[in-house]
């Protein structure tokens, strides 16, 4: 990584990205405000609670914004715009009581996101993931991915509130045992990547399996907009796993040394033409009792 001293073109890119990000933030804030007003108007939840939720979302975006600004590698236009897109589905439809199945699915999905946030948080305390000996791109990926899962959890919980369901703020109880059992063995980047893969595959497969089951259109759209992102996390983790396994960890850079990348790096990230639901979690696994 040679990005500590950005050149003129990189600075221009960063400035452009910041401008676009600011515009997208404006759009996001409008959507968040609409979401709060809608909640307020319909008295479906405590307005203060909705406002707190919006503030939490803004805080998470600000946190990500700072992370983005501090690393040119993460500078990417339109990130907050996509955040807004995910919330549009929630704000575009009126609140009404959700079906028990919808609520259980959304709670389970929130629990998977909560677990991912917690697990990536633990990973970042490890010196070879979040510390001085970490691969910079891996550290940045874990940091960004944790933030994305936080946003997913918050939007699933926003959907639950809109459907008059209880938010789920705890991790999936079954997978939590898997994570806790794995913690003492997280002594290498490979072990962390393997655990992350299990969680990401579980989340993506769950969303793919149940997106067609959800009755609430906004919740369906929200789930659909997240499942592919989890699949992208899987793809990158598979590529990282392959490179580390082949002793090519030095190739995990942006941009990568394209000519030197092993052939398998081009395909390992998408092993099947149809995303498997074999690792989907039961719909009720993370439901609030």
């Amino acid at each position: 990584m040679t990005r500590n001293q950005p050149d003129r073109s990189q600075r221009a890119l960063l400035e452009e990205s910041t401008d676009l990000h600011r515009d997208a933030m404006r759009q996001t804030n409008v959507v968040l405000d609409e979401l709060v007003e809608r909640h307020d108007d319909q008295h479906s939840v405590d307005p203060d609670e909705a406002a707190d939720h919006a503030a939490a979302l803004r805080a998470s975006i600000t946190e990500r914004d700072e992370a983005t600004s501090s690393s040119s590698m993460l500078a990417s236009a339109g990130v907050a715009g996509a955040m807004a897109a995910g919330l549009v589905a929630l704000s575009a439809s009126a609140a009404s009581a959700g079906t028990p199945t919808d609520i259980q699915i959304l709670q389970t999905q929130a629990s998977l996101e909560n677990l991912a946030v917690a697990t990536y948080g633990v990973a970042l305390t490890l010196p070879f993931i979040g510390g001085s000996s970490a691969i910079p791109v891996v550290k940045a990926f874990v940091t960004q991915t944790k933030t994305q899962h936080l946003e997913h959890a918050q939007t699933f919980n926003a959907a639950l509130r809109r459907l008059k369901g209880k938010p789920q703020n705890n991790p999936d109880p079954v997978l939590l045992k898997v994570v806790n059992a794995a913690k003492p063995k997280l002594t290498t980047p490979s072990a962390v990547v393997a655990l992350a893969l299990e969680l990401e595959n579980g989340a993506a497969a769950t969303y793919v399996k149940y997106v067609a089951t959800l009755k609430d259109p906004a919740s369906k759209s929200l789930t659909a907009s997240i499942m592919g992102v989890e699949a992208q996390h899987v793809a990158i983790l598979l590529a990282v796993q392959a490179l580390i396994g082949a002793g090519d960890a030095s190739m995990i850079t942006l941009p990568p040394p394209l000519a030197s990348l092993p052939s398998v790096a081009g395909s390992v990230g998408f092993p099947q033409p149809f995303f498997s639901i074999a690792q989907a979690r039961p719909a009720t696994e993370g439901a609030v009792n």
Binding site: G266, F270, P273, F275
Partner: protein, 266 residues
Amino acid sequence: MPFKKNIHDVRRSPLEISEKELSSLTSDMIDAHEGTKSVSREAVANWQEVSGVATQALSSEFSRRRLLAFGGLAAVGVAVAGVEMHTPGIAAAASSKSAPIDVRVAALAASLENLAVYTYSAGLKAATAGKLGTVPPAVATFATTAMAQHADHADVWNSTLKSAGYAKVTKPDPKELVTVNNAFAKVTTIAGLAELALLLEGVAAATYLEGLSVVTSSAAKATAASIQPVEMQHVAILRFVLGEYPVPSAFASTAMSRPLSDNPYL
């Protein structure tokens, strides 16, 4: 962008891949691809089950409002290599209502998958002919694998079309084909090919995401849901190849979705 410059620099210190090696790679991929056929066959079986549902899922369940939204979202311009993708607009999308919505989405999806297969095939031929400079092995593997997966996707959509009594869509959308051909004519490097592929993959992923909100049968939803994440994975790896952050957004977007009117067959 500075990232792109680095990719071009990489191309000047090549790891050559010969036609023989590319053919061997393709053969290997075909073998590997056979391993996924069971998944594909299962999906086809699911579609055969749904064919009756698809034919009954008349557009009465598909409100004009939603159709307009579908076309409206798709009217966002997409540009590559200075060429704007075809954006027929709302009226054109709304006028194509002759077949059940699931069938029309299946036809649109098949035409997009065919377009992807066509583009990757053309790219591999150009690479083999040395028109794109040296081809990194990882890029060749990507193109070969992604092409095979898009062919599988097209097969599944065509199976349901056939089961529902409609003709298979075996060619790319002719309107988009013109756009892609114009863009492809300007591609002279692997990075340029990757940019074009990134656009097509993004369009496919967005179209599936949009399609999920309009199809009515559970099998159509399940099929679209099982393909959209794979297109998103293609996007992530392409962004990595191009030196861009691979997962920049927490939520997928429908902004580049194609309208139903793109499908000229139904």
